[in-house]
């Protein structure tokens, strides 16, 4: 069985982004870009399933600019077997990416598609569920444990208040939460090996997908600043302030 894993190139999670002064977006010129952390967890999970003998091939897909090849190389250094880049300079929104992934799923016929639950740039949390809907497949979002046996996936999900477990028939879509696994560090030999792995490049048109954005960003602004308050000397002052000044206790 094959797995398709989607990875997104995003601003590194350690970078504090700045809003551009003309309010057209955030300034991402010359900032470090990395694989979306949730997608790294998705790649790791797929590679572990392959190491357990559940999967026979892990194919990673990225949609976006040429530089997404770097993200694919990182995924292949973790252990993915080959890569697919859907190359475009157009802004891609979740529905468009879900359609691209659906077209690739039709070609590749995977048993599982694994994605991060959300990307840390647009924070949408949509693509996996949209793909599941378009393909008419079952979905298990926010996974913290995945087991595959007898043509089913048993997935434990993080829900409000605790955990729930779903049994999905395959093919299915799984999106990852933080606690699913801890991605391995990539080693230099594996980085070298990844350079030799195959990447196929498509354009959205090749896949017959119209990726025109459906949502217009009118402006991007700084969030309201919360100003620092005061430091109190001791617990007694704190209690006094909470009771008499803030009146919250």
């Amino acid at each position: 069985m094959k797995a398709l894993v989607a990875v997104k190139r995003v601003v590194d999670y350690n970078v504090k982004v700045r809003v551009k002064s003309d309010q057209t977006g955030v300034d991402i010129a010359n900032v470090k870009m990395s694989m979306n952390p949730f997608d790294e967890i998705a790649v790791e999970e797929a590679v572990r399933l392959k190491e357990k003998g559940v999967l026979t091939e892990v194919v990673v897909v990225s949609c976006g600019v040429t530089q997404c090849q770097e993200t694919l190389r990182t995924a292949m250094a973790i252990g993915a077997d080959r890569g697919i880049l859907v190359e475009t300079d157009q802004e891609l929104q979740p529905l468009a990416v879900a359609k691209l992934l659906k077209a690739l799923a039709d070609k590749e016929q995977p048993g599982l598609v694994i994605l991060g639950k959300q990307a840390i740039d647009d924070d949408c949390n949509q693509t996996g569920q949209m793909l599941a809907a378009l393909a008419d497949w079952p979905q298990a979002t926010f996974a913290s444990k995945v087991e595959v046996a007898d043509g089913h996936a048993l997935v434990t999900r993080e829900v409000d208040g605790g955990l729930e477990t779903l049994k999905l028939s395959l093919p299915a879509v799984i999106t990852t939460d933080l606690r699913l696994n801890e991605p391995r560090y990539v080693t230099l030999p594996n980085i070298m090996k990844a350079k030799k792995k195959q990447i196929d490049v498509f354009k959205p048109e090749d896949l017959g997908v119209d990726v025109t954005p459906r949502i217009k960003t009118l402006k991007v602004s700084e969030p309201p600043k919360r100003s620092a308050g005061i430091k109190v000397a001791d617990v007694a002052t704190l209690v006094d302030k909470l009771k008499n000044e803030a009146k919250v206790i």
Partner: protein, 310 residues
């Protein structure tokens, strides 16, 4: 123009998030209908009919709705979708799970996590973990939206909407619910709590977390929260996590104990009315958002605070 709000409930009671979602729906203009899809959910439908501003409650019953699986819930919503201009879900684990399924089937974009309604097609939403706010315009005919509950006040009660029982529509079952482990406790739910006491990595262990933080939460009648660092270290369960990748909260009082204040954490709690930070590091970023900062060892200060609260 009318909006459909998908109620979140446990078949008996409505989850408070539904009330905030109704407020967002009212801001979109037009009639607001609420869908209660569940199993033996008459009580929840009854509760929904009492939300002020709601003109109709649609109540669908099926065994398959018992656990709120996305496939079935989306099928039910899609069966109703054609007459609505806006379809709104709370941006909770459950709403986030369902909404994109509905949007994709309708071939429309989804606007996630809105914090403000500027006009029926223009919304504000945080991006980059709340480090920027985007104002976006949805161009599709149907707006599928998830609502960040802290961005909207809870709708008032006192309404008396008609309840219409509608036929249930479900999907081919390709997924099955096999079980859940929901932590049972008497504390208020994190996202609905008026007071939250949160602990960070400085606690050092799950035992210390419980020993130091729990008595303060008991004293204040508070919900318990934790930073991602504390959750990753195993000191607290994941569903206590406050932050960009956990819960977004905005209580009246938020007490952060031994939390340094990573951007990720601040994104989840900076809309709290009053923030108290207890940390021994004077440079901790949490002090930059705290109304009251106490520079002290939490192992001394927190028990002292419990004692001072009598």
């Amino acid at each position: 123009m009318a909006s459909l709000v998908i109620a979140e409930h446990d078949n008996q009671n409505l989850k408070p998030a539904t009330l905030n979602t109704v407020t967002a729906a009212l801001a979109c203009g037009g009639d607001v209908h609420v869908l209660v899809a569940g199993k033996d959910a008459s009580a929840a439908a009854q509760a929904a009919s009492q939300i002020a501003g709601v003109s109709k409650v649609l109540h669908a019953e099926s065994d398959l709705f018992a656990h709120g699986l996305a496939e079935h819930m989306a099928a039910q919503v899609l069966a109703l979708a054609s007459v609505y201009s806006h379809i709104l879900f709370a941006a909770t684990a459950s709403g986030k799970n369902m909404a994109p399924r509905v949007a994709a089937k309708l071939d429309v974009a989804q606007v996630s996590d809105i914090t403000r309604v500027d006009s029926p097609d223009t919304f504000e939403r945080p991006i980059y973990a709340g480090n920027a706010m985007a104002t976006v315009q949805a161009t599709d005919a149907t707006k599928v939206i998830t609502v960040r509950t802290t961005g909207f006040d809870a709708a008032a009660l006192g309404g008396s909407a008609a309840i219409e029982v509608i036929p249930a529509v479900t999907a081919d079952a390709k997924s099955q619910f096999t079980g859940s482990e929901i932590a049972k406790n008497d504390r208020p739910e994190l996202t609905a709590a008026k007071v939250i006491v949160s602990g960070g990595r400085a606690l050092g262990s799950a035992e210390k977390f419980n020993e130091v933080i729990t008595p303060l939460a008991d004293k204040l009648g508070a919900a318990l929260g934790a930073s991602r660092a504390a959750v990753d270290a195993g000191y607290a369960p994941n569903d206590w996590q406050v932050g960009q990748t956990g819960k977004i909260v905005a209580p009246q009082l938020y007490v952060a104990c031994g939390i340094s204040g990573a951007i990720q954490h601040l994104a989840g709690m900076k809309d709290s009315k009053v923030i108290v930070a207890i940390n021994k590091d004077p440079e901790a970023p949490i002090f930059s958002v705290a109304d009251y900062g106490l520079e002290a060892d939490l192992f001394v200060a927190v028990p002292e605070l419990v004692a001072a609260l009598g």
